[in-house]
């Protein structure tokens, strides 16, 4: 078969240098190394007080020591546990309210009102009240996290349910689905992109809230979490450990972003349903 000759278009940006041709993970790794290098240079050149700032070497040592003696692992797990349970509670509340809203006008009104009143409250502002109600224990923290998580999830789910394609709902009724199955088999998967989006937001809010709350609270439940670890390190003027704690938070953020991406790829991307980044 004769191939007609076509003028080859110019190479895309960045690809002419070798940079654009490297795989994504390598590009990020190199950029990260460059940033760490700049960090080290700053420490060496400006020699800031070790009570104010740490260099990459010290932070790496503190990080490694923290994981080796199990402290970082323990506090990370404590924080993640509370966060997970709190978000779970928030999700259940959100689901209930949203289902109620989908099925009745009064439910819809109730949801709107609760969101308007409770969503703007930053989690940490609710904490003193929560301590008053639930006592000085994990339950207060769970309440605060649940509150931080429930409203983003509810808002997103509500939008998701509202924007479900009515044709699909008609198909569901046509093939004989009961109301209950219509919700579980049609509305729920159709709203999945919004559910995931809500979950991502809830996770982000939850993280910020739990770390801040741990500082206000003094201790997370029986033992400290990551926020307490960082605060304690600062109290003892162990700045490398403070940085190590922050690095842990950053790494966790990356891990969860990857997990979310994975989840999305297996579901809404595969189904061509992804609505936004």
């Amino acid at each position: 078969m004769a191939t007609p000759s076509v003028a080859v278009p110019a190479r895309p940006r960045g690809a002419r240098l070798r940079w654009g041709r490297l795989p994504a993970w390598l590009r990020y790794l190199l950029l990260l190394a460059a940033l760490v290098g700049i960090w080290q240079l700053y420490v060496v050149w400006r020699d800031p007080s070790p009570l104010l700032f740490s260099g990459p070497r010290d932070v790496a040592e503190a990080f490694w020591a923290g994981w080796k003696d199990g402290n970082l692992a323990r506090v990370t797990w404590t924080t993640l546990k509370i966060l997970g349970i709190g978000i779970g509670i928030g999700a259940v509340v959100a689901l209930t309210l949203t289902a109620f809203a989908a099925l009745s006008q009064i439910g819809e009104d109730l949801l709107r009102m609760l969101v308007a009143i409770l969503n703007p409250l930053p989690g940490v502002a609710v904490l003193p009240l929560a301590i008053l109600w639930f006592g000085l224990n994990t339950n207060a923290l769970l309440f605060v996290i649940a509150n931080a998580a429930a409203w983003p999830i509810a808002i997103n789910l509500d939008t998701g349910f509202k924007t479900v394609n009515p044709t699909i709902v008609a198909v569901g009724r046509n093939i004989g689905l009961s109301s209950r199955r219509l919700v579980t088999d049609v509305l729920a998967p159709a709203a999945l992109p919004y559910a995931i989006s809500g979950l991502k937001t809830a996770w982000a809010f939850g993280w910020r809230t739990i770390i801040a709350a741990e500082l206000v609270f003094g201790v997370a439940g029986a033992e400290g979490g990551l926020g307490t670890y960082i605060n304690n390190a600062k109290l003892f003027l162990d700045i490398p450990r403070v940085f190590a704690g922050l690095v842990t938070i950053a790494i966790l953020g990356l891990v969860f972003e990857t997990l979310f991406g994975f989840l999305e790829r297996r579901t809404i991307v595969r189904w061509g349903m992804k609505t936004s980044t």
Partner: protein, 275 residues
């Protein structure tokens, strides 16, 4: 697309026809409307017609003539404001798989299920076992020429293929009457013509009773045995025309019938009534 080999069984099975007087659908002095922002809007003033077992009836009318509303009422989405709609002798029906619908929109498939699951899932909803449902689904995918696409997700399909899946899904339920609401209205002319021919062949094999809504006269003539003409605002049945003996599209009888139907639809000038 040529039909892949399908078993004789599929052709011999098909629309159920065991009913009193052989009538599957009976629309008796039906009056249809809906509540809009300006009060009750009457779409269909009065319509009466029957559909017999294995018959293919097309309802045509201009846009806004209430033909989709009529289909929705037969499907059970809308209660009649007057008159009765009886399917296999039963009235006051909620939506159900005995009146499977193929809608006009492409996105009538579940995006989170692949092609095979989209066809098999409604069967499982109706108490079929997983394996049997999958087998039946594959049969109908064969029939509609989609076997090669069984693993694909709807977002990977073209518009024409999506409608084929919808047709397979509806047929797999082996409904008492197959309802189709302008299913080819969103397709380009070439795909549309191809799907019309395919549907005709499939229905010949399955002998499914058909209630089809369109504003295209050609579609009515290609697919239908009787044509119900809706006209007026609110509409009434102007005439029910038997088109069984009309010849192929290039024949004089076809051209004559076409003119006749255009007159019935009160279409002026060169407008050929197609979208």
């Amino acid at each position: 697309m040529p039909m892949s080999g399908s078993t004789q069984d599929v052709a011999l099975r098909g629309g159920v026809g065991t009913l009193a007087g052989g009538r599957v659908l009976s629309v008796d002095r039906v009056r249809l409307g809906y509540w809009g922002s300006r009060g009750f809007h009457l779409a269909v003033e009065e319509a009466s017609f029957d559909v017999a077992a294995r018959e293919r009836v097309i309802v045509i009318g201009q846009s806004g003539s209430g033909k989709s509303t009529l289909l929705k009422a037969v499907a059970g989405f809308l209660p009649p404001a007057g008159g009765t709609i009886a399917v296999a002798g039963r009235t006051n029906l909620a939506p159900g798989p005995d009146r499977a619908v193929v809608f006009q929109e492409f996105d009538q498939l579940f995006p989170w299920r692949n092609v095979l699951e989209n066809v098999a899932y409604p069967l499982r909803v109706n108490r079929w076992r997983r394996r049997d449902a999958a087998a039946r689904a594959r049969e109908y995918l064969d029939l509609t020429g989609l076997s090669h696409a069984a693993d694909r997700y709807p977002h990977e399909l073209s518009g024409g293929m999506k409608q084929r899946v919808a047709i397979a899904r509806a047929l797999a339920l082996e409904p008492v009457i197959l309802l189709m609401d302008e299913p080819f209205g969103s397709l380009d002319a070439i795909t549309r013509a191809r799907l019309q021919r395919e549907l005709h062949g499939i229905l010949e094999r399955t002998q499914t009773t058909l209630f089809f809504v369109t504003h295209s006269i050609d579609e009515a003539l290609i697919l239908g045995e009787r044509v119900v003409v809706l006209h007026g605002l609110p509409s009434t049945v102007r005439e029910i025309v038997d088109v069984r003996d009309v010849g192929p599209p290039d024949s004089p009888s076809y051209a004559e019938m076409r003119i006749h139907l255009r007159e019935l639809l009160a279409i002026e000038g060169d407008d050929d009534g197609d979208a």
